[in-house]
């Protein structure tokens, strides 16, 4: 009886090729630290504490009357909306004649641990909106919020409807109890009071843990195998490294904001029940009466569509549009698909409503 194992020589060739690719990777690939994210030129027009408001340089002779302010999320950084010239959300909007401002929330440190929703929504966001109104000489602005920035924009639109002409909610976190992602399961079981009392700000390491449990084998094994297999494909490698760099860079979240976030959105689910309180005022989604454009992704494993869609059904707006796209959380804002399908639809809507 033979105990010999027959292996196809093609497998050996594949393994050797893979090893060769791994060996030559450092020569072909730029290190994450050497990559500069954010490619579209902008000016910082307003600063407050660590928050910056960026105004992107126009790319068309004529622009839409109403400027757009993008409230980026509090997780990771704004660069994802301008990750690559060919996949830049911001650049695409500029090419369609939209006057784009974006908020960079900065990197909170220990001194910022008492910042809460009131500071972010009624403070920083409101000050940015007032600044843009003055600069552009308009009474109202268009406001877009992505992910957790969508939640802040929803709260702002409810508390300051007089300042918002159009509201665009992109994968917003709204109904915490309906969120079917694994992250929501973890945060529901966390003693957030103890967390904030002892640690202060939510450290980035906690977010990295949350990322690591999202499809751990696809994201932790297959993704890197694909990377080494495609090491000679310049475009693929460049995109890969940009996204990797973006993923590995998330700032801490101020303790009080994190406490209110977890309790009010995920544990007690107050926002969707119109019971949330920010700066002593009740947040009612019914106060949102301006035109609303909600974008959700069916393959979103960070903010599930079931968590975002209730916004569409809870607002007081009569003019509202819900778009469901066959992509994921990042694919919705930084992919060829978003350039070809999602952004043209949004720009068309903005043109009609500006």
């Amino acid at each position: 009886m033979s105990s010999e194992i027959k292996i196809d020589p093609k497998i050996i060739a594949e393994i050797l090729k893979f090893s060769k690719n791994v060996a030559k990777a450092p020569k072909l690939v730029t290190a994450p630290d050497e990559i500069k994210l954010g490619t579209t030129p902008f000016d910082v027009v307003y600063e407050e504490d660590k928050v910056r408001l960026m105004h992107y340089k126009p790319m068309t002779d004529k622009q839409l009357h109403t400027p757009l302010i993008i409230a980026y999320a509090i997780i990771n950084r704004y660069h994802i909306l301008d990750i690559h010239p060919k996949k830049s959300w911001v650049k695409n909007l500029l090419e369609h004649g939209v006057d784009v401002y974006m908020i960079d929330w900065g990197t909170p440190s220990s001194i910022d641990k008492y910042l809460d929703f009131d500071d972010y929504v009624n403070g920083y966001l409101d000050n940015c909106v007032e600044f843009v109104k003055r600069e552009s000489n308009v009474d109202k602005v268009s406001l877009q919020g992505y992910c957790t920035g969508g939640t802040m924009a929803a709260i702002y639109s409810s508390l300051h409807p007089e300042n918002v002409k159009n509201f665009i909610a992109t994968a917003p976190v709204i109904d915490g109890w309906k969120d079917t992602t694994v992250v929501s399961n973890l945060v529901r079981h966390i003693d957030v009071d103890k967390f904030v009392e002892i640690v202060g700000n939510m450290p980035p390491e906690f977010m990295y843990y949350c990322f690591s449990i999202l499809k751990p084998f696809e994201q932790g094994v297959e993704k890197y195998i694909k990377f080494f297999k495609n090491i000679d494909d310049k475009n693929f490698v460049d995109n890969f490294m940009r996204i990797e760099k973006w993923l590995s860079d998330t700032p801490p979240i101020p303790g009080e904001l994190f406490r209110q976030w977890i309790k009010d959105i995920y544990q007690d689910n107050l926002l969707i029940q119109n019971k949330m309180n920010v700066g002593g005022k009740n947040v009612s989604l019914r106060n949102i009466k301006m035109p609303l454009f909600t974008q959700v992704a069916v393959g979103d494993h960070l903010v599930s569509p079931e968590c975002s869609m209730p916004l569409h059904y809870s607002v007081g707006s009569e003019d509202k549009t819900l778009k469901v796209y066959p992509t994921g959380h990042v694919g919705m804002i930084a992919s060829s698909f978003s350039q070809k399908k999602i952004l043209p639809e949004l720009c068309q809507w903005l043109k009609v409503h500006s």
Binding site: K10, I11, S110, K194, V199
Partner: protein
């Protein structure tokens, strides 16, 4: 005190350690008091606080380890279950690139599905919550020890720095409100002009 369960054993040793630490502290503090004055006396008091924190921290460490063991048990059990499913679905060792690719796909899909199911489960969430809570308690004991040491070196501790942060936060808020009121007044003035 008769040790009956793990908890009782931990309680017993905690009591035993505290009893002897307290007694030794009481016995030794008298001659120390005679020879040490001012800050040195303070240092002796601090040493007792640190011992208490260490003893209490050890009790938390036992509970932390229980949750950590459960955490790894859940991961290992899921891994074994997934591997069994993979073996059932793809029993043969792949021996050409196409088969290997198909095997890898099956492996990743089954493992991702099973682990996502685990991370989504109540038992995982609850144990994870406990694990984080115990880790936080350990951090708290460590913070308390650091606070004692900072105090004995006459430096501000965490609580005092937190008070400063809170004060700065409330000052920032007040300034921001005053600034916006001033802006509103100026706007009204300009309109009147």
């Amino acid at each position: 005190m008769k040790p009956e369960s793990t908890k009782n054993v931990a309680e017993y040793y905690k009591h035993l350690s505290l009893f002897w630490t307290d007694l030794i502290h009481l016995m030794s503090s008298k001659p120390q008091a005679l020879t040490s004055i001012g800050p040195m006396r303070n240092f002796t008091e601090n040493a007792k606080k640190i011992t208490t924190e260490l003893i209490e921290g050890s009790a938390v460490l036992i509970e932390f380890n229980n949750s950590l063991t459960e955490y790894y048990r859940q991961l290992i059990d899921t891994w074994n279950e997934s591997q069994k499913k993979v073996n059932f679905k793809a029993p043969k060792i792949p021996n050409d690139p196409e088969q290997f690719e198909a095997y890898k796909r099956v492996w990743i899909d089954i493992f991702d599905n099973d682990f996502t199911e685990l991370f989504d489960s109540k038992k995982f969430g609850e144990n994870y919550g406990k694990l984080v809570a115990k880790e936080l308690e350990l951090t708290k004991h460590w913070n308390n020890i650091m606070n004692v040491m900072l105090q004995s070196a006459n430096l501000p501790n965490k609580q005092e720095i937190d008070d400063v942060y809170r004060e700065i936060h409330s000052l920032r808020k007040r300034i921001s409100k005053l600034e916006s009121k001033l802006r509103e007044k100026n706007t009204v003035k300009n309109i009147v002009k």
